[in-house]
């Protein structure tokens, strides 16, 4: 019987016999765990710290951007870019671009006989164009200017002949004035330039003398507006502009044969037809909205493109309705029809024609203030027919001038009244 052979267990080829390898592996695992945890913890801590640091930096950068923008616009010179302009602007701070939104919340004006001064309150926000925090604040600026005042001596002033007809009234303000104390009248009802004449037809009423000035037609604009000031100069400061040349949104809608407030709703978002409401001041039967009664606007209408149906030059036509402030007609004439009621100053580059209308039972006159038609041809007459009324009114003139000067304020250099205030975080 063949003996059973038991195979001998041979050692491993490399001779590993201990537990060094498992121990080393276990140690490696432990160290790996340790390092991983430390890295994870450090990484998390670092991320938290970095996040907080970034958030803080973002906030301070936004604040810096806002202050930087204010500083850039705080110059005391009249440089155009030194003024706040409503809308959006941009500024770079800390290598980041910020969008700055500006809006003027309010203007409070102080009027004296010779100056207009205003305090404007602006709101500014600075928001990074990329991700980050934004801030907002308010700031006050002051502006001021010597007042521009018109030099007029009559209810109606014409650069050429002036014709008064029918049962119309032209007054120097001797009676029937609204809003002004007595004693603020001028001597003349009508004043024309040297060499021009005043024609009276029918049975009109002239309160005050018809006066021929020593001022020539060529001198009239400088005499009334001031040296080197033109209607274009004034139109620049208009609140409302019609005509492409003036940068207006549209041409004056002559075809409507309507006044400013008739065709469009007073609550319309389009405020170019909101010329204020003079009715409240004359204690009439129709009550104006109180805020409409406070609104005095400067309206400039360019007549360059006004044509009649035959395509011939046509005057700007206003039929009925009302307004208050200053109405400036450039490069053409003005034809007022119906019961147009206006309180303030009307300046016409060429000729003024007022016709028809009873003036309504709500108003003593159609034009309460003064009208000046500079005329381009002395042969063209300014007609005042029907029972339309032009009455000199100093208060209305002052209000209109204030509206003009208020517009001019925007071109004046701004002075920061104080540092930014009402600060807040925009994005939290």
């Amino acid at each position: 019987m063949k003996p059973i052979r038991i195979r001998r267990v041979r050692p491993t080829p490399l001779g590993e016999k201990g537990i060094a390898l498992p121990l080393a592996l276990l140690g490696l695992v432990a160290v790996t765990l340790l390092v991983t945890t430390v890295l994870l913890t450090s990484g998390t801590e670092f991320a938290v710290s970095a996040s907080q640091k970034d958030a803080d930096r973002s906030l301070y950068n936004a604040n810096g951007a806002l202050e930087s923008f204010v500083a850039q616009h705080a110059q005391l010179t009249a440089a155009p870019n030194a003024r706040f302009v409503e809308g959006t602007d941009s500024v770079t701070f800390g290598g980041l671009k910020y969008t700055v939104s500006l809006v003027r919340l309010s203007r409070v004006s102080t009027e004296t006989a010779t100056r207009t001064d205003a305090t404007d309150t602006w709101s500014l926000t600075a928001v990074p164009r990329t991700r980050g925090r934004g801030v907002g604040s308010m700031i006050r600026v002051t502006r001021g200017l010597p007042k521009l005042t018109l030099n007029v001596s009559a209810g109606a002033t014409s650069g050429g002949n002036f014709s008064v007809g029918g049962s119309s009234t032209v007054s120097n303000g001797r009676s029937g004035q609204v809003g002004c104390a007595s004693g603020d009248t001028v001597k003349s009802s009508v004043q024309v330039t040297a060499g021009s004449r005043i024609d009276v037809n029918g049975s009109p009423t002239l309160e005050g003398k018809g006066d021929t000035s020593t001022v020539t037609k060529a001198q009239l604009m400088n005499s009334v507006l001031g040296t080197n000031i033109t209607l274009d100069t004034l139109a620049k400061y208009a609140d409302i502009r019609f005509g492409a040349r003036l940068g207006g949104a549209a041409e004056w809608p002559n075809s409507q044969s309507k006044g400013p407030n008739q065709t469009w709703s007073l609550t319309s978002a389009d405020s170019v037809f909101n010329w204020g409401c003079p009715k409240l001041d004359v204690a009439n039967t129709v009550t104006c909205d109180p805020d409409m009664a406070k609104r005095f606007v400067v309206v400039a209408i360019d007549a360059t493109n006004m044509k009649d149906q035959a395509g011939l030059p046509n005057p700007v036509t206003i039929n009925g309705d009302y307004g208050q402030g200053m109405l400036i007609i450039l490069n053409g004439s003005l034809n007022v029809q119906g019961n147009f009621i206006f309180r303030g100053i009307i300046l016409v580059d060429q000729d003024l024609s007022i016709s028809g209308g009873s003036g309504g039972n709500k108003f003593a006159g159609k034009i309460e203030g003064t009208v000046v038609a500079f005329g381009t041809q002395s042969s063209v007459e300014d007609n005042v027919n029907g029972n339309a009324t032009i009455r000199y009114n100093k208060c209305s003139i002052v209000d209109a001038q204030n509206a003009l000067n208020d517009g001019r304020l925007d071109d004046m250099p701004q002075v920061l009244a104080n540092s930014t205030f009402a600060w807040y975080e925009l994005v939290r």
């Binding site: 913890t41 998390t44 809006v103 305090t119 709101s123 308010m138 007073l266 540092s419």
Partner: protein, 308 residues
């Protein structure tokens, strides 16, 4: 296998086995300790993170609100609490008689819904000067006094027509329309509204209070939390902000003038109005019990941006 072969085979002696077992036991113990220590370390780190994040979060929120506190807006101060007027909207009044309503123009900003938060804790404060940003006569509750008579906003309505449009009630201070998203006219109604004149700065504020409260109601020191409330005597609208804190003094405030002088909390109105910087310290505790029950603190110093 023959017996001779078996005798020739090498093996372990008992001593060798014992030594190996002891060594293996020691090594296993070491590894166990390392792993256990590591696990504990991870737990501690996690707790540390939690504490730090809680404290930092609380600090960030408190600092953010304090930074924008309105001028002279500190109502009550102590070493462990603060009540202040937090602006929700800044605007310009169009002028109104006492009792309101107040018509005002506000910047229309992206987070307007937050800005115009409406609740019973919203008051109105009007700047009485146009020339200076600082308020020379404050309107609002005096520190330590009852809040009775404080203005309360009960209604906020968007003006229609909008600012600049014919018929808008603020035509006296603004006649032109503004680009979309820049301006908002609001009509504020409520109780005890102050009289304002046109052009005056107007603040809509919300009363905010930070202090430490016990969530269990018992002063066991076990469940202290930082809470944010409306600061009204009724104590409504309390919100737990961060915690837990190890003690009731886990939230601490210190007050400084612009020259660095520290002001005793709860002092006079003049002192409160001169506070320019507030130190905030949060001592937080981890929620984990046992050996990982950590306490850590975070501090910051907040410059009041709207201080005159």
């Amino acid at each position: 296998m023959s017996s001779a072969e078996l005798r020739g085979a090498r093996g372990f002696t008992l001593v060798e086995v014992m030594v190996a077992l002891v060594l293996a036991g020691v090594l296993a113990g070491v590894i166990f300790q390392v792993v256990r220590g590591q696990a504990r370390f991870a737990t501690v780190q996690s707790a540390q993170q939690e504490v730090q994040q809680n404290a930092r979060g609380a600090i960030e929120i408190i600092a953010s609100e304090l930074r924008g506190v309105q001028p002279q807006g500190l109502v009550e101060t102590s070493a462990t609490s603060i009540t202040f007027q937090l602006p929700r909207a800044w605007g310009v009044s169009c002028g109104n008689a006492a009792g309101g309503p107040i018509n005002a123009l506000f910047a229309d900003v992206a987070d307007a819904t937050v800005m115009f938060a409406r609740d019973a804790a919203t008051g109105v404060m009007a700047d009485t000067t146009v020339a200076a940003a600082a308020t020379t006569t404050r309107w609002g509750p005096a520190p330590g006094t009852t809040l009775a008579g404080r203005a309360e906003v009960t209604g906020l309505a968007v003006q229609n027509p909008a600012p600049g449009v014919a018929g808008n009630v603020c035509a006296n201070i603004r006649t032109a329309t503004a680009a979309a998203g820049l301006l908002r006219g609001m009509t504020i109604s409520g109780n005890n509204l102050p009289a304002t004149t046109a052009g005056r700065t107007l603040y809509l504020y919300q009363l905010v209070r930070y202090d430490v409260g016990s969530m269990t109601g018992a002063a066991t020191g076990d469940d202290y939390w930082i809470r944010r409330s409306d600061g009204l005597p009724s104590g409504t609208s309390q919100q737990p902000l961060a915690g837990p804190l190890p003690r009731a003094t886990g939230l601490a405030f210190s007050y400084f003038k612009s020259n660095g002088t520290e002001i005793t909390p709860g002092s006079t109105r003049a002192d409160l109005d001169s506070v320019a910087r507030i130190g905030v310290k949060v001592v937080a505790r981890s929620r984990t019990k046992g050996r990982a029950n950590l306490v850590d603190s975070v501090m910051t110093s907040v410059l009041l941006r709207n201080t005159p």
